[in-house]
Subunit: 234 residues, 2 copies
Amino acid sequence: MRYQLYYWPTIQGRGEYVRLALEDAGADYDDVVRGPGGMAAMSRMMEAGGRAPFAPPFLKAGRLVIGQTANILLYLGSRHGLAPKAEAGRLWVHQLQLTIADFVLEVHDTHHPLGPSLYYEDQRGPAKKRTEDFWDERVPKYLGYIERLVSDSGGTFATGRRATYVDLSLFQIVAGLRYAFPKRMKKFEREIPKLVNLHDRVAARPNIKAYLESDRRIPFNEEGIFRRYKELDL
Amino acid sequence: MRYQLYYWPTIQGRGEYVRLALEDAGADYDDVVRGPGGMAAMSRMMEAGGRAPFAPPFLKAGRLVIGQTANILLYLGSRHGLAPKAEAGRLWVHQLQLTIADFVLEVHDTHHPLGPSLYYEDQRGPAKKRTEDFWDERVPKYLGYIERLVSDSGGTFATGRRATYVDLSLFQIVAGLRYAFPKRMKKFEREIPKLVNLHDRVAARPNIKAYLESDRRIPFNEEGIFRRYKELDL
């Protein structure tokens, strides 16, 4: 089956977790909104009523339209060898993905503490405060948890010897933090050697390597979730 | 099977979405941390290593320990008639629950825009700004989407004639907004008559009605997600 992914065409954003899974799986897919007429097609899907999704990303899989990043990965994981097939394993991997989703929201809040409707330029002061708290409290808590997981899993990846979609997402977290906060991340990486190793292992997977070198990978930029603002990276 | 729910004992918080599902289903469960030795038991579970969850709530179901609210509901839904059994319906209901989870995080951010580690009293100004944006932009967007869904579903509930765990969560959203923002919500309710009707239908379900009248239902308070601060309710 050929999938159609609908997501904003100029950012990695939440769509990137889906793109990484589709690419690693070698799945056939169209990144619809990056093609001609794509934006209008996405708008039509969202205004169709019925089971129209609340927001991108969403994935069309035959007659199914699946929204919410973690839900899309839940669907793709068991079909493409990126998650266990048994219920206990599927729930565990999904639970970790939802924890990553919470972290991603907190990353977004570092530059948008007053809400997603205002520009960054209108919330610089609060962004500084939120970013301090993020690096003092939240990053150590979340990434320390992940580091411990990789350590306890008995393998290279978060849940063992086989990579799941969670590992692809963790690659993206490390890559994103390196982009947005190069100084802070450089210092912090000594606390998370296993997670850094996991990142490198994912980056070296043949399909991911080819994807990262292709123009299908949109560069990080200041409209996505991971944004580089010098005044936040002290 | 008798379940064990682990969650903070003095707030509704995210655990409430699970409590509502367990109560509506008439399931046997222990609200562990509200019993003797419960807090120590929760700490032990979280520090156990291996597949220990990142944060409460989590549910013990036999040998399984399931974390993340939406993931717990995914597990309970198909077992207790609170979600469709077929994959398409299960994914659709889960997608809506994840959208509600996003909204719940935005509710929390109204009083904690600078992050969860600081006290409300240390972020009153930013909280006012975030709350304005929340009511101007976010509430109409989210609840307008839900109102349209109920309207298009051809039934009383979000996905049709049968209630799912999503409807129990939507009940909680309406109840919570009424508690936290009585003035603003009173005005806004005329925009969402179908959602208010859904709330009333859920509240009248025998098991929910009994639960709400029992002391198992913890009252709303200023340590939970929905907090009443007069200065935010203009």
